[in-house]
Symmetry: C2
Subunit: 334 residues, 2 copies
Amino acid sequence: MRAVRLHEIGGPQNLRIDEVPVPQPAAGEVLVRVRAAAFNHRDVFITQGKYPGIALPRILGSDGAGDITALGDSVTSVALGDDVVIDPMLDWGDDPHVWDAKNSSLLGMPRDGTFAQYVAVPAKNVYPKPKALSWEEAAAIPLAGLTAYRATFTRGALKAGETVLITGVGGGVQTFVLLFAKHAGARAIVTSGSDEKLARARELGADAAYNYKTTPDWHKQVRSEGPVDLVIDSTGGDTLVKAIGAVRPGGRVAIYGATTGDATIRPFDVFWKHLTIVGTSMGSPQDFEAMLALFDDGKLRPAIDKVFPLSDAVAAATRMDEAAQFGKIVLKID
Amino acid sequence: MRAVRLHEIGGPQNLRIDEVPVPQPAAGEVLVRVRAAAFNHRDVFITQGKYPGIALPRILGSDGAGDITALGDSVTSVALGDDVVIDPMLDWGDDPHVWDAKNSSLLGMPRDGTFAQYVAVPAKNVYPKPKALSWEEAAAIPLAGLTAYRATFTRGALKAGETVLITGVGGGVQTFVLLFAKHAGARAIVTSGSDEKLARARELGADAAYNYKTTPDWHKQVRSEGPVDLVIDSTGGDTLVKAIGAVRPGGRVAIYGATTGDATIRPFDVFWKHLTIVGTSMGSPQDFEAMLALFDDGKLRPAIDKVFPLSDAVAAATRMDEAAQFGKIVLKID
């Protein structure tokens, strides 16, 4: 089969299309003929050596959708021919409140991932593909949708009629947060350093949009539009500090990343406003199942930036690396 | 009547015992003959001018217990002669999740407080005194007990069998947290810079105790004793950073103060461990009622540092200012 493998740390250009043997599903696993896969920043970070313990060569890719073509021993939960979406979170653990960080991992490193014609995964990690979605749409959902769902609902507790502030819209997760928030009947305020991304966010339903480069006091401006009940942030640093300033008394801040690093917070703001700050990363099997159900009626669709053929994986990864995308970058796999 | 009034900003020595008229309860208010009152850091901070808008002279004091000697118009919820404890949180507001910070205030500034033979307060702010407690014990509870209850249970969600880490034990609130935690069947680990306070905390049931001066890596040591489910902190700064490091994955951190100021946190620790950080300040009427009920059976009693007569208010306030106390400093008012 054809697969996108990383041979050497150094960046997306080190990805190669290789001919490799089709994997065999072990007991409890299934073999999925991957019809489409999608990129996450993680895939690019892996090519750049930003994770420890990378063993090469390795097939990357956490996100994928396809149909079942072989069953390992003792698999009864799915059947040959089933169309599925893969939950890339392997071995989350038994506690829905927190993962088993030591024993869990994501598909696509260390375990071979979805950037290939076939992938073997545990049977418990495949879920019926929402019928309303194309292969490309289904493949665009998993990791970003899972992370966004848990941040928005399981941890952020967003409800209809509330207002959510989404800092740095455009990446996979924040775009899902926007889609989920609008689907749930909430108001959404977005920020970005790109007017183009803000315009796209407005097309997807954002009720207000601020360019943080031209409006550095966005955290004060958003307050003038009414109370912000929830902020969802993966920027950290000064953005997190501003987010804490923006949220209403009694409000919540959900964080799942910190691309700009440490944040010097004033605890006074947290206790005086009775804030709740919740950390979250990826999501539980329960989160994945509930997230996927949102797509059942076909009214909700992921935002896709661009679809590339598998043979253009380097170009796709380079686009991801440049952070120019809005929504998910997808690989179509014939 | 005799009352402790602040005449001039400058410190506890500016408190004076004055002869002043007995206040008259307005409609909806009651007059309480105060039998005992208690100090909070707030009272000392007021003498030092640390709050804005202090109008002098003023009778200080948030905590008090006594009996009802007069009723304002349209008061039916209490009767003359009732023994009561005063909830010092005035006009919390309608939302149990967060106070109405703009309209709420604490008894004892700007409104005349409990360091007097009589105080007029809203009838809705008095609750039946737990019969098992003395006047001094009842007076020791209100503000610190309320703050501790909300931090420990309403916001911190402490349950039997869990472990709570209490940073900087000895002050009024943290000592109540220790008492409440043990009463609820939790394990309690305490820190202090004073071996004497650690010994007192052990007498009150602390399961482990660390001197943060001689054991600066206490946050690592406590982890070796088993998972910490909840940290309760009012120190802020580096202590809060260490607290975030000490708590288990999926755990909670409740903060109600920040005596050492800003904290430079690593958001990674928060999202990777799926932590929940909750801010809290004072407490709602619901919190006060639930807190007071803990004392009904007489098994739980506040820790009292020392009882002074009203005439020794300056000495009492000076002891508070020196932070040498363990538990509450009480004024007995004949």
